[in-house]
Structures are given as structure tokens and as C-alpha cells.
Symmetry: C2
Subunit: 90 residues, 2 copies
């Protein structure tokens, strides 16, 4: 599947997501994309840095994209939320 | 001064930093660098997106760098903290 190598960052402990990324690489992926929105963006950067510096030899951050997504709440109101995509290759 | 066009993101409201970036552009800068560490990284992305989408016509994000900085606490202990630099040009 095309989405196999995407890791979405939520509110779990940072190391859970580090493990998810490392698992992707160990399963044979050459590229992993880390995605996050809102306050989880800081955690996404932590995950990328920890993977690169401590767990995956030769891993490099090849691209970082930021954008704004429009979310629609239960009452139909829309809110803008920032998002980030961090591309890591080994 | 070389540091004139850097805006450091802290814990103030997001719009304070948006205003700081817009002021840099209005003062004649063609490039502004937004820097943040730790949990302020999410806010830095918000600032960049708001400046680009709402305040500075033609502004583009030209580069994003992330890294890890070692901070030394009062007791001599060191902690790793992630940081981000977002480069915006108009």
C-alpha cells in the first residue's frame, strides 16, 4: 500500500512513534514520511531527530513541508490548523 | 546587523510573532528566519503559515531546517531539545 510508510504523530509518548518509524525502515522501506498537525508538530520534529541521531544509521531528512489544513468541527465551524510532513530517507 | 531578520518564537500569543515577521518585511527585509525550540516549534509553523497566507503577498517558504541542540541546565545536566528554522522570502 502507498500509505505504508507514513507515520502519523498523535499524543502518545514520543518513543512510540520513534519505534514505528524504525520498524518501517527495518521492514525494508527506504523512505518514511512523518506527519503531524497542530501541537503534535513539535513531537514530529523530536521523532525525526531521534530517529536520525540515535536509531537509523545514515538516515537523512530529505524534505520538510508545512501547510494549513481546514478542519470542520461538529457544529460546522471551520478551523485552520498547521501541519508538517517530514521526509526521512536512509 | 546580521541578526535583524531573525524572529525567535517563545510563549507569547502567536499573533505577536506574526506582527514581528510582518514588521521585518515592511522594513525592507526580503528574507526572514523564524526560529523556535521545543514546544514552540508548533507555534513557529503557525506563524509562518499565517504570514504566508494572510499578511505578506507573494511570501514563500524557501527552506526548513530542523536540528537538535544540547542545553545545559543549572545543575550541569544536559538535555537535548529539537529546534526549527523556517526561511521565508517575499
Amino acid at each position: 500500500m502507498a500509505d505504508d510508510n507514513i507515520v502519523y504523530i498523535g499524543r502518545k509518548p514520543t518513543m512510540n512513534y520513534v519505534l514505528a518509524v524504525v520498524t518501517q525502515f527495518n521492514a525494508g522501506s527506504d523512505d518514511v514520511i512523518i506527519k503531524a498537525r497542530g501541537r503534535s508538530i513539535s513531537r514530529a520534529v523530536d521523532v525525526a531527530e531521534i530517529v536520525k541521531n540515535r536509531f537509523v544509521q545514515g538516515a537523512k531528512i530529505t524534505d520538510i513541508q508545512i501547510s494549513t489544513e481546514q478542519l470542520t468541527g461538529e457544529e460546522g465551524r471551520t478551523a485552520n490548523v498547521s501541519s508538517i510532513e517530514i521526509f526521512i530517507s536512509k
